[in-house]
Symmetry: C2
Subunit: 219 residues, 2 copies
């Protein structure tokens, strides 16, 4: 979005426009959003929007890349975490949010995200951004499952199929909370992921030998 | 929607308005829809829309109830079907469609449905219709699971939690096909439902005794 030669002032302006777009989308929703709603959220001159973006569609596409980048940058996993901890952490972050340190909480961001997601059927460019984002979440979960299998901590499962169903359930938990107002959907889906999906990762022999080792060490 | 004293002509008009709304939504999407787009799809005078509905919101609410009714009436399960057949049939109908016998296919209907679903976050009335519909699908799947448990065909699982995860996966399969254009999502999710969820229903002892009985009968 930002070319390397761009001045700091220009980067600041774009950031300000993106945050104004956030506030306007959170207030009005995508379907009722007009360019002037974004202008009204902006402290600087609204003509700057037209200088930087070629209409509503171009602005919303840029905004989509902006929130997806923010979201992806927010899942930090400590170096050396074991596969179970990393997997839990990634799932929990997606379901319960990373706690953004600003005026918008996780669910304010998710509302805007899911609003735009549903409109992606009408827009090839948005569809590509969402598909790539979905794929990166799935990929990061598949990678930790694959690592767990390699390290002998997880059973030898199909990492891609397992990661897909986890990612799908995360998505639907957010939808149910946002569109249907089911506040407990993320907690409920977290239990379903444990019971129906992660249970397939448990290597009974490995779990047993770990327990035996712990017993011996306790003696 | 239709009071019992209403004339057939009035019912026909409402039906015509509902189908015009369908065509207009499929063409323009909810966010760009104007009342006059619906009028343009209508053979009769567009002033009839205003006679029957109190603005765009009232019309869309009535339309939502109309497609949800259509959809719910379409899942026919033969009398006396065993629990596995009924469960498969219900899941397949939701995932692959009942093959409506008119100009719109299942996916045209689903596109409109999911478009409105995402907008339900902004509308209490729509939210209630969707939540009730979601709950009825979940309930019909829970009922057949409960029956299977009672008949000793399924293991004694938590029918509500199991039905919830099946319904959630159906929802996300449709979303991925519609919003992300992933044509193979329904087939892929069908396999995931079998592997991760329905596998929990298999009563190993019951399966074994059935096999033994079949063996004896074959002798």
């Amino acid at each position: 979005m930002t070319s390397s030669g761009e001045s700091d002032a220009s980067t600041d302006t774009r950031e300000a426009i993106m945050e104004a777009t956030f506030r306007a989308l959170a207030k009005h929703g995508y379907s009722d959003l007009r360019m002037r709603d974004i202008g009204e959220e902006l402290d600087v001159s609204r003509t700057l929007i037209h200088y930087h973006y070629d209409g509503k569609h171009d602005l919303i596409s840029a905004f989509l890349e902006y929130i997806v980048d923010q979201y992806e940058g927010s899942v930090a996993v400590p170096e050396g975490a074991d596969p179970w901890s990393e997997l839990d952490r990634r799932i929990d972050r997606c379901l319960f949010g990373p706690g953004f340190d600003d005026e918008f909480g996780h669910w304010e961001r998710m509302k805007v995200y899911h609003d735009l997601f549903s409109q992606a059927q009408y827009d090839e460019r948005h569809r590509e951004v969402f598909a790539a984002h979905y794929e990166r979440i799935r990929g990061s979960i598949a990678a930790v499952i694959r690592r767990g299998v390699d390290e002998g901590v997880f059973r030898d499962v199909d990492a891609d199929a397992t990661a897909q169903v986890v990612t799908d359930l995360i998505h639907v938990a957010r939808e149910r909370r946002i569109s249907l107002g089911q506040e407990d959907a993320p907690e409920q889906v977290r239990r379903a992921i444990d019971e129906f999906v992660l249970s397939s990762l448990v290597d009974a022999e490995f779990a047993l030998s770990s327990m035996r080792r712990a017993d011996r060490e306790a003696d």
